[in-house]
């Protein structure tokens, strides 16, 4: 079984991934391979072409391919299947209070297929009547939420958009990184990046993987692994959970169309 991972969580903890994989293999009774790539798009492409079976994806690519992908499970963070996007600036910058103050500055996005790290700030600018393409003097992608925190922390970017769950987890794991940044805006709640399955996956396989994920919190080893992820567990979830993201995407792409 091949599972695609994206930096919707701290996917650079190699030791943790090994333990998680071993646990999944034990529970599923078959071999598990984690597949990591440089961007969300590559994982999405692998999933669409059937080269991987499941993927932990952001809500934004999920809603774009909602009809193709099957929803497996949604992580529970702080008891809910929800998270926020944070807009951050360097900790030393005390004058910036909102996204509007970052006009003409350098901005770091995480991934063009990320909800919290790209879609939300795009939506925010669009809803304020700004053109996201020209609002910043320069913008760049770091291809991971954690690296957005780093880029803003060292001052490479004047602002950045980051997954709130990743930022909070990082503040426990690497407080030195988050301490160099300051949050100026928290988005409304969105559906947490879910586990999805390729469209042609046999239903039994999907159910089996789903039950393993849902039962993770009740398993002592599984709950310890969840603790490392700072998650409470997994819920089955409904595709409607991601309607908020879908609306934002519609708004942003609509604007793009009009342009």
């Amino acid at each position: 079984m091949r599972i695609g991972l994206t930096p919707v969580f701290l996917d650079d903890q190699v030791g943790f991934l090994g333990q998680w994989r071993a646990w999944l293999e034990k529970k599923l009774g078959r071999s598990v391979v984690f597949v990591q790539r440089g961007s969300y798009r590559e994982i999405v492409d692998l999933l669409r072409s059937g080269k991987i079976d499941f993927a932990w994806l952001c809500g934004y690519p999920y809603i774009r391919h909602r009809r193709e992908f099957g929803l497996v499970a949604v992580p529970l963070w702080r008891g809910q299947p929800l998270y926020q996007s944070y807009l951050i600036v360097p900790a030393g910058d005390l004058r910036t209070h909102s996204l509007a103050d970052l006009r003409g500055k350098i901005f770091a996005y995480s991934d063009p297929d990320s909800n919290s790290g790209f879609l939300y700030p795009q939506f925010l600018l669009t809803s304020q009547g700004e053109n996201p393409a020209t609002f910043f003097s320069r913008s760049f992608f770091t291809w991971a939420h954690r690296k957005v925190v780093e880029a803003v922390g060292i001052g490479l970017a004047d602002g950045g958009a980051v997954d709130g769950y990743v930022w909070e987890t990082l503040s426990e794991v690497r407080p030195d990184l988050t301490r160099a940044t300051r949050i100026i805006d928290r988005s409304s709640q969105f559906g947490h990046p879910p586990f999805v399955a390729r469209g042609d996956i046999p239903n039994g396989e999907l159910k089996r993987f789903q039950s393993v994920l849902l039962g993770m919190a009740d398993d002592p080893e599984g709950s310890e692994l969840l603790g490392r992820l700072r998650l409470d567990g997994f819920a089955a979830g409904q595709p409607t959970l991601f309607d908020g993201i879908a609306k934002m995407a519609e708004r942003v792409s609509g604007r793009m169309m009009r342009k």
Partner: protein, 483 residues
């Protein structure tokens, strides 16, 4: 300057050795530092250039794709630390575009994206000038004088077109700790060498200097204390110091000889003066004396026999006779006719002194090697030998011995009289032969004077050697071959 010249060799040699060691250490350290600097510069330059090439090759794609974060990660990885060679760590890495604007930098706060590094002024403004060189794809090393950094600039070339530059800035100061370490190590080694060398050079100086110091000390005492300049301590060797010592010994020897000669001359001149004086006086006394004695004689023969006058005359005659004898003793006359001196005369003399010798319990031994009579006045030679023998017996200790040696050698009569017991002290030597210079209670002190006068008138030579417990009088008198 004066002080340094006046310093004793004892100090000069160790100081010079230390100076030589220090000088060598400083020269070697300086050479090493320069060499090390060159080495490090070449190392660093080579390292920076190859790093620049690797970076520029690696950065082409991210720069073309405008991937700022990837570029940042790449230049950050290029700034890895090398604990063994901290100077190899770039202080700053800049990636600029073709307009010399920052694409990305290792210090985003100081060099924000899109800004021109020239805004920081100083060296960074100069770098811009350096960019517009003749060859757009060549690497350049720039060392702005007023900057603590020096830079290696590598163009970012894609398909022959320069997209921008990778600029690596290295600290010049980072060499300093290496140099300080080097100098410290050199100083430590020098100190150890000095600790080892100082005692060695001290001993060396003592060995080299000691003979010179001895020589100098001996020379310092030379004029006044000729006797005590300890010639025995001077070094015997064939080197220059040994030669110097040898020359000095010779010089002292000659000086001594000269001094002795001068002393002898002084003595003989004085004796000659005394001789002339006494001879003059004796003649002056002798003339009236003869008249007076003749007058007394005449009175005796033709006088009226007045008892008082006769008694007075006899008193006068005794006094005048004593004067005559004394004068005669002073005035040694050699011109009278005399028989030849022979071995028989010595036998007579030995018989004469026998009673005296017996009285003092002194053994007199004679070694006489005379075969025939010599054409020398026997009376005078007898007088010499008698006087010397009597003196010797008198000076010899109780139960001591006196030796008389008489030999012939090359037309000369050699006489030697030796005795043990009392010797002639040094301060008496100069006046030994002067008349009336005796230290004894009896005797008139004319014995040696007479000996001297006779020897001189016979053109002989006379010498005395006297040490405690041993005294020798040597006499040599020339004589003509018997006709």
């Amino acid at each position: 300057m004066i002080f340094r010249r006046d310093l004793s060799l004892r100090w000069k040699i160790p100081l010079r050795v230390m100076g030589a060691v220090l000088g060598t250490a400083i020269a070697v350290t300086a050479a090493l530092v320069v060499w090390e600097y060159d080495e490090m510069r070449q190392n660093l330059e080579g390292h920076a250039k190859s790093l620049g090439r690797v970076l520029s090759n690696t950065l082409v794609a991210p720069v073309l794709h405008d991937d700022i974060w990837r570029s940042y990660e790449i230049i950050q990885s290029a700034r890895e630390t090398y604990p063994a060679a901290p100077e190899l760590q770039a202080e700053i890495v800049l990636v600029t575009d073709s307009d010399y604007r920052v694409f990305v930098s290792s210090r985003p706060r100081e060099f924000p994206i899109g800004a021109s590094p020239a805004m920081r002024g100083g060296a960074y403004a100069e770098l811009r000038a350096g960019l517009s060189g003749s060859d757009p794809v060549a690497q350049r090393v720039l060392e702005p004088a007023d900057s603590p950094l020096y830079f290696v600039m590598t163009p970012l070339v894609a398909d022959g077109v320069a997209l921008g530059h990778v600029i690596l800035g290295y600290s010049k100061v980072s060499f300093v700790p290496r140099f300080v370490g080097l100098v410290k190590r050199a100083a430590l080694v020098t100190l150890l060498v000095l600790l080892l060398i100082v005692p060695v050079s001290w001993i060396w100086a003592a060995r080299t200097g000691a003979p010179l110091l001895q020589l100098a000390e001996a020379m310092r005492r030379l004029p006044g204390e000729l006797e005590s300049s300890s010639l025995a301590d001077l070094p015997y060797s064939r080197d220059e110091i040994g030669q110097l010592s040898e020359a000095f010994r010779r010089l002292v020897g000659e000086l001594k000889q000269k001094q002795e000669l001068e002393g002898q001359m002084l003595v003989s001149e004085r004796l000659a003066a005394v001789g002339r004086l006494t001879a003059g006086i004796a003649h002056e006394i002798n003339n009236p004396l003869g008249g007076m004695l003749t007058a007394i004689n005449t009175y005796r023969r033709h006088g009226n026999g007045d008892p008082l006058a006769t008694q007075t005359m006899s008193l006068l005659e005794r006094g005048l006779t004593q004067i005559k004898h004394t004068v005669a003793a002073l005035l040694v006359e050699t011109k009278m006719q005399d028989r030849s001196f022979a071995a028989q005369d010595i036998d007579d003399l030995l018989t004469l002194v026998e009673s005296e010798a017996h009285a003092r319990n002194v053994t007199v031994r004679a070694d006489v090697r005379l075969d025939e009579a010599l054409p020398l006045p026997a009376t005078l030679i007898r007088q010499i030998i008698l006087n010397l023998l009597l003196n010797a017996i008198d000076a010899a200790e109780q139960g001591g011995r006196v030796e008389l040696l008489a030999t012939l050698d090359n037309q000369r009569l050699k006489l030697a009289v030796k005795n043990d017991g009392l010797h002639v002290p040094q301060d008496r030597m100069d006046t030994l032969f002067e008349p009336f210079s005796t230290t004894r209670e009896q005797g008139h002190g004319l014995g040696l004077w007479i000996v001297y006068q006779i020897v001189r008138q016979l053109n002989g030579e006379l010498s005395v050697a006297s040490e405690p417990g041993f005294t020798t009088f040597d006499i040599e008198i020339p004589y003509d071959q018997p006709a």
